[in-house]
Symmetry: C2
Subunit: 441 residues, 2 copies
C-alpha cells in the first residue's frame, strides 16, 4: 500500500570516509539510509533530495569498527594479576576467576564491554567465550552487532565428543536458534585451539562449521611454545597440520597467527583463511610480532582484534589501528608499511569480511547502516591541507575520545558520547561487585 | 605581617596516586597545596584541617605528566607527507615547510600543542625547536611548565661557531633572560646531534651547558644509519665518541638511544645520562626498538617523550606509557617487563629528573603542585579489586580521554576538559591557515 515504503534519512557531515575499496573521502558528504541500510553515499553536491529527515552532524562519518577477536566478558577480570609471568597469570589470576563465573556474570561483563565498544565506535564484535546464551542476550540488549562463536574447550567439553556427537548437536542447535543476520546476530563455532582440543576435534568442528556455512574461529600460533608438541609429533608447522586435517576448507578466522613463516602464510592465502591480528594483546603478553606486512602482501585478509580486555586492557579498536601500523613498521624498520588507509580498512571492511559479514564494514549502497561520527574539533585533527592528511589523523590521532554518535543498522545507540542502550552505571556496579566475588574465591 | 601567609587549599579525591618512589596509593586521599606547592599528601583519615578551601574532586589525582622530548610547534606540519619513506618525508614534506616558518607560526603551533598537552595531563614539556622566543612566549601564556632547549643546527648555525663565539654568546644571553624556575621556565641547550653538527660543536655546547648548569638535550642513535660515518671515523660507537669528547659531564638528556648496546648503556649509566624514550615515534618512523629494559636494569633514568607531532601524531603521553611497556615486552617476549607502576613513574617522576627538574613529577611535600584529575567513571577503569589493579588501569586504559582537570603550580589550567588558558578555536584556525601557507610554498 502507498506509504508503507520506508523513508530515506540523510546524514550530512563535513567529511565522509567510506573505507570502501577505493578509500573515497567526500568533504562534505552524505550518507542516505533507508530501513537500516545505506542507499546512497557521496558528495553533498548533486545529491538528490530525500523524503525523510536530514541531520547535519558536522564532523566526520565513517563505518563502524569491527573487533574481529574478543573475549569481551573478561571485563570481569580486567587488571587481575597484572604483571605476572604468563603461566602464573593464567593459573593464578584468570582461570580460577573464570571457573567461578556464572551466566549472569557473563551477561554483565558482556553488557559493560558492549557499552565500552559502542562508545568507542566498535559496532561489531566477534566473541569467543563461554555461556554463549548470556553473550547473545547482552549484545542483543545493547543493539550491537555480534558474531558469536561459542568456545569449545577440552577442560569443559573434552568428554562431549563421543560417538553420540552431543557437543556437535548442541552447537548445531545453538546455531539454529540464534543465527539471525537480520537481527544482527550471526553464529560461528570456536574450537579454542588445536593444542587444547587436539587436531581431530578441531577438524570435527570445522566440518560442522562447513555444514552450517558458519565461521570457524580458532586460536593459531599465538605463542612460540604452544604448538611445539604437535609440531614435533607431525613434523610440520601448526598451520600445515591444520591444513592437512582439512580445517581450512570453509570460512575460517584464525586469531593471532604470530608464529607463522612464509610457507604458512602461503597456505593461509591459498585457503582464503582470514587472520585476526591483535597487536596490543600480543605485545602485552609478550607473545610476539605477527608478520602482518607479509600476510597482506600475500593477499591474506587481515582484521584487527582487541583480544580479551584482561590482556589489553581496553576494547578501543582505534588503539589497534595505530599500534598495528606502528608494530609492522618498527619490525621491518620501514615507515611506509600499513599506511593510514590500509590500516583503517583492516579495522572496518576487512574486519567484516574476516568475521563472515558481507554487508558490513564500509559505507556503500546496500551495506548495513553501521555509522560512527567522529568529532574533528580537537587539536590532534589539525591541520588538514589534503584528504590524505585527514586519513592520517584518523589513523594516528583517532581515539574513542573522539567518538560522539554511533548507529547500528540505522538505529542510534550512542548520542553525544552517551550509550543509549546500556545502563552503564548499573553495569559498572555489577561488574565491580561480581569481580570482587570472583577474586575472593 | 599576620595574614600574609598563603592559605592551604585541600584537594580531595577517591584515589591519589603519588608516583613517588614507593608508588603510594591513597584511597581516598588528600593533596594540600599552599602557594603553588604541595605541603601534604596522604590518606583522608587523620588529615588535619586546612585554613583554605576544600575541593572534593572524586576521581583520581596524579602528578602532571612530563613530555621529555618534543618538537611541539610541528603541530603545523602534522600529517604532512604521511607514509613517505623517511628521507623523502624529511626532504619533501618536513624541511620545505619548516624552512618557511616564521616566529608567529611557531607561536601558534606551540600554543595549539600546549593546549593539546595540558588537556591530556601533560604539564611539562622539554622542547627542542627553533624560534625559541616564540616557544617561551606561547608556553608562558598557556600556563604550562617548559624546559626550552633552543635547537642548534648546522644548516642554520654552522657558521656561527667562529672564534668570536657568536652562537654561544647568544645561547648564554637567552639563558640569562629566560631561565626562571619560579616562573615555570627553565632553559637548556640543544645541539641537534653529532651527525649534524659534528662532535666538536656538540662538545662546545656541552661545555656551555655545564657552565650554566643547564640541561644538554641532544639526539643520539635514533636511526641505525645516522651515526655510521662518525662511528667508522672514530672506530667506536656514537655513545663512546660523545663520552670521549666529554659531552656527558653535566646534566645530559639524550633523545631516542635506540641503537645502543650493553657497553653504551653502561656508559650512559656511569655518566648519569638520562634517556628520553619515544616509542611511538621510533615505531612510526621505523627507527628501531630502544633497549629500554636493559637501560632500566643498568640504572639509567628513562623518561618518555612524544617527539614531534608529525611523527606520532599526537601529544598524548598516555599513549607512550602504554606503548613503552608493550614494546619492551614484545621485544623480549616477556610480559613482566615495565609493569604499570614503573612506566607511570617514567612518565612523571623520572621524566622530571631527566629534564632537570627536581621539584616536579610526584606528589610529595615540597613538590610543585602540578596535578591531573582523571575521571574514573568509564568502563575501562572497571573493576578494581586491589590498588594494583588501579595502577594497571591507569597504565593500560589511561588516556587523554579521561583527563578532566589540570593544575600547574597550583593554578588551574584545564577545567572539565576545557583549556582555560589557550583560545583553542583560534589556535586551530591559525594553525590550519598557516599550515596551508607552509604547504603551498
Amino acid at each position: 500500500m502507498p506509504g508503507s515504503a520506508a523513508t530515506t534519512e540523510r546524514h550530512l557531515a563535513d567529511v565522509v570516509v567510506t573505507c570502501d575499496d577505493v578509500g573515497a573521502v567526500h568533504a562534505p558528504g552524505v550518507v542516505d539510509v533507508s530501513d537500516g541500510r545505506i542507499v546512497r553515499v557521496g558528495s553533498v553536491d548533486g545529491a538528490p533530495p530525500v523524503d525523510g529527515p536530514v541531520h547535519d552532524h558536522g564532523g566526520l562519518l565513517m563505518p563502524g569498527l569491527v573487533n574481529a577477536h574478543a573475549h569481551t566478558p573478561m571485563t570481569l577480570v580486567r587488571g587481575a594479576g597484572d604483571g605476572l609471568p604468563l603461566q602464573r597469570w593464567l593459573t593464578e589470576a584468570m582461570w580460577p576467576r573464570e571457573g567461578r563465573m556464572t551466566p549472569d556474570d557473563v551477561w554483565w561483563g558482556m553488557a559493560l564491554g558492549s557499552a565500552e565498544m559502542l562508545a568507542a565506535g566498535v559496532t561489531t564484535s566477534c566473541e569467543m567465550y563461554l555461556f554463549e546464551d548470556a553473550v547473545v542476550d547482552a549484545v542483543r540488549a545493547s543493539g550491537g552487532r555480534l558474531v558469536v562463536t561459542p568456545a569449545v574447550l577440552s577442560v569443559l567439553h573434552g568428554d562431549a565428543f563421543g560417538s553420540d556427537g552431543d557437543r556437535l548437536d548442541a552447537m548445531a542447535a545453538f546455531h539454529a536458534e540464534h543465527h539471525d543476520p537480520a537481527g544482527r546476530i550471526t553464529v560461528g563455532i570456536a574450537p579454542h585451539s588445536a593444542y587444547d582440543l587436539g587436531v581431530e576435534r578441531v577438524a570435527l568442528l570445522a566440518g560442522l562449521a562447513r555444514d552450517l556455512d558458519a565461521v570457524l574461529h580458532v586460536h593459531v600460533a599465538e605463542t612460540r611454545e604452544e604448538s611445539a608438541p604437535l609440531e614435533a609429533e607431525h613434523g610440520c608447522s601448526i598451520v600445515r597440520i591444520l591444513d592437512d586435517a582439512d580445517v581450512f576448507g570453509g570460512r575460517v578466522l584464525v586469531a593471532h597467527a604470530v608464529w607463522v613463516d612464509d610457507d604458512d602464510i602461503a597456505v593461509l592465502a591459498d585457503s582464503g583463511v582470514a587472520v585476526a591480528h591483535c597487536p596490543v594483546s600480543n605485545m602485552k603478553l609478550g607473545s610476539g610480532i605477527a608478520p602482518v606486512a607479509a600476510m597482506l602482501d600475500a593477499g591474506v585478509t587481515v582484521a584487527l582484534g582487541t583480544d580479551g580486555p584482561a590482556s589489553n586492557d581496553t576494547l578501543d579498536l582505534f588503539e589497534e589501528v595505530k599500534v598495528a601500523s606502528l608494530l609492522a613498521r618498527v619490525d621491518a624498520l620501514d615507515p611506509t608499511l600499513l599506511p593510514a588507509g590500509q590500516v583503517l580498512a583492516m579495522a572496518t571492511r576487512h574486519g567484516a569480511t574476516a568475521v563472515g559479514l558481507d554487508d558490513v564494514g564500509c559505507l556503500a549502497p546496500g551495506m548495513a547502516a553501521d555509522l560512527v561520527r567522529i568529532d574533528l574539533d580537537h587539536p590532534s585533527f589539525t591541520p588538514v591541507t589534503s584528504p590524505d592528511e585527514l586519513l592520517a589523523h584518523l589513523a594516528w590521532s583517532g581515539s574513542s575520545r573522539s567518538v560522539t554518535d554511533v548507529w547500528v543498522a540505522g538505529e542510534k545507540v550512542v548520542a553525544d558520547g552517551e550509550v543509549l542502550t546500556v545502563d552503564v552505571a548499573r553495569a559498572r556496579a555489577e561488574v565491580q561487585q561480581r569481580a570482587r566475588r570472583l577474586a575472593a574465591g
